[in-house]
Symmetry: C2
Subunit: 400 residues, 2 copies
């Protein structure tokens, strides 16, 4: 009898739906199958030269700890970056984090005690449920539906979820996994509810500039929510450097940032080299993110041109990020994904996508849905979609 067990909180964690097929992919590749990986938000597009140069020109003789709140020049670069959107921040309102993942963890720890609740919109980036479970936070989901383009229609939908234990509302804008860019009206609803009910707004703006219509809409531009608002931001997606592990937590609520700083001290600092290497791109980001957004728009269109013609597939046109959710005419998308990796290839090629079930907090949703990430170049994406289409046809013939 082994008493050396794992905790309940970790035992009930799911493996990441984005990362759990790693072993099957390796096996397919060993058999000589090319796997188009449309599962993970890690694009083929090159990291900006400014960052690569920042790394290769690292000249220090020591790799010292950074201050727990971040290296001064790095934080100043973020201030300048935000100024470009008409957002004015002080250095003490920005704390460097090891990616948004750490930002979520720190925020949940700081705003909640075990058993407290946070309202989220589902489907939801799958790491939120995982991190919430570790922090003892209960996520209370509001379901947004593919068929309605994931629109939040009224204040009521949120209000009826609020209890004495509710501490905040998470909004990911543009959204992962849906690619939805939140509208001004919808965000106003969230701001209003948060103001009235003294709730935190946790605005995850990792994909801020990647929107295909209109201007980036940060919650930092909304009035009278200074004490409510916590913005999570990241270098990873916008500057195509997810492996650099850098983000920030931004807030004008002094008690909150003081709490975050204490947590930050307990893990010493975020990576030093990355903080130094990203100063230049933060100060002059727009030319890069404009080009990037145009590229993702092209990719979105390629994917959707194929999807629109596929029988039984339900989809919509996303306005941001580089993901979308689609409904397939299958019972269990995980079984379809395994089929694609184990039993199917077209011209010795196959495609990996993510199953959606773990992007839902509520049990049993999303079994017939998948997430596609547009992380390959136009040529490969065209091929991948052709393979995907044929794969689904084959699966439906075999398992109707």
């Amino acid at each position: 009898m082994n008493k050396l067990k794992i905790s309940i909180r970790v035992n009930k964690l799911n493996q990441s739906p984005i990362r759990k097929f790693f072993a099957l992919v390796e096996r397919a590749e060993k058999r000589g199958i090319k796997v188009f990986k449309l599962n993970i938000g890690d694009s083929d597009i090159e990291t900006p030269k400014e960052i690569l140069k920042g790394i290769s020109s690292f000249k220090n003789k020591n790799i010292h700890y950074a201050p727990s709140s971040g290296i001064k020049e790095h934080i100043e670069a973020w201030i300048k970056y935000y100024r470009g959107f008409g957002i004015y921040l002080g250095a003490e309102e920005i704390i460097s984090t090891v990616g948004v993942s750490e930002g979520i963890l720190m925020t949940f720890l700081a705003i909640s005690n075990p058993g407290d609740e946070v309202i989220v919109f589902e489907p939801l980036y799958a790491n939120y449920p995982a991190i919430a479970a570790m922090c003892g936070v209960k996520l209370v989901p509001i379901r947004l539906k593919l068929e309605n383009g994931f629109v939040l229609s009224s204040e009521k939908e949120i209000i009826r979820k609020i209890t004495k234990k509710t501490r905040g509302i998470v909004v990911i804008n543009p959204d992962n996994p849906t690619g939805k860019a939140w509208g001004k009206k919808e965000l106003e609803i969230i701001a209003k509810v948060a103001r009235k009910n003294n709730l935190y707004i946790i605005a995850d703006e990792t994909y801020r500039e990647i929107i295909f219509r209109g201007k980036p809409l940060s919650m930092l531009l909304f009035k009278n929510i200074d004490d409510n608002l916590i913005v999570l931001d990241s270098i990873s997606k916008r500057f195509l450097a997810p492996g650099i592990r850098l983000g920030v937590v931004v807030s004008k609520n002094k008690e909150f940032t003081a709490g975050i700083l204490k947590i930050a001290m307990s893990r010493l600092s975020a990576p030093t080299i990355g903080q130094l290497a990203t100063i230049q791109i933060l100060k002059k980001s727009r030319p890069f993110t404009k080009k990037l957004t145009a590229e993702f728009k092209k990719r979105r269109d390629i994917v959707n041109n194929v999807l629109r013609k596929m029988k039984g597939v339900v989809t919509y046109l996303p306005n941001g990020a580089f993901y979308q959710v689609i409904k397939l005419p299958v019972k269990d998308s995980e079984s379809f994904i395994k089929f694609m990796l184990e039993d199917f290839s077209y011209q010795r090629k196959t495609v990996l996508v993510s199953p959606m079930e773990d992007f839902y907090v509520s049990h049993g949703h999303g079994r017939d849905e998948i997430r596609i990430a547009y992380v390959l170049n136009v040529k490969e994406l065209n091929m991948a979609m052709e393979v995907f289409k044929r794969g689904l046809q084959a699966y439906l013939c075999l398992k109707p």
Copy 2:
């Protein structure tokens, strides 16, 4: 009335005793005072050339995510590193972490549910209490005393602290903050108690090679504790690259490593550039760590030659790491530290050390103790100790 409060778990966190004087230091420096920083484990010694070259020669066009468990070649380099100590590990037994800080957090989450207990020896590296508080872990301290050279004398001392809720025992070897290198007999006591009582051993071996007598003694060399043992290891201190934010969790307990991997997935990955840049030094570490250890031994002797002659100071000769704890003839060492930063200088120089109170889990201990870190070169350390001696004299004259 602000309902947007901080959680209890974060509110009760202390600021890091190592990092909380940052503002006072800045002010002293603005007045033109040179501050010798003997507070933080971040040495002046240069990071190995192999690592610096690994960074400046980073040639990838993308900074992709690493696998959640670590980059294959990086993990293989750790395997080779351990083989040098007669320790044989498989790749699935090592998981890359964002420094030992993250290793502690992941381990506490994986082995405990809120309210569970972990036995520690105090004084204790101050980040353990902070991370335990965030995870809802109750630390149960066994006090080791400066006057006895911090020796653990018998099994009984541990056994009487074990309850139904006890999940593990933390041993930091060599120790931060005491510089104690644990003896084989003492470690045998821990192994025996853990075996008998089915407890995890969390062996933090960050400073493994930095010992001034005998050979490095890893708990991985002990028999019949494979399921109990969790080793936390780090690039930071041994290779003088704390800002690179890299460590590993090592265990042969498959259920435990599966749990850690799920947590690792929820934060995606440890920094990519650092993992690649440290492969070479891990494969050939001994010449570097030998030189490093000789240097720290020299520094230990300089510090202790001064301390031994200081009236009213209680000390001992540490055998490892680059810290030591000393008792001062003052009531409140924090007040002495503030005096040094605000009201004292000698030849426009002063010294910063860490107050010990927050290194104790039990309330009220260590108020007359400080931690010194030997992180300056011989010349500066000589000066710093002279300034320290005069500072203490002045403080005692003014506040006897």
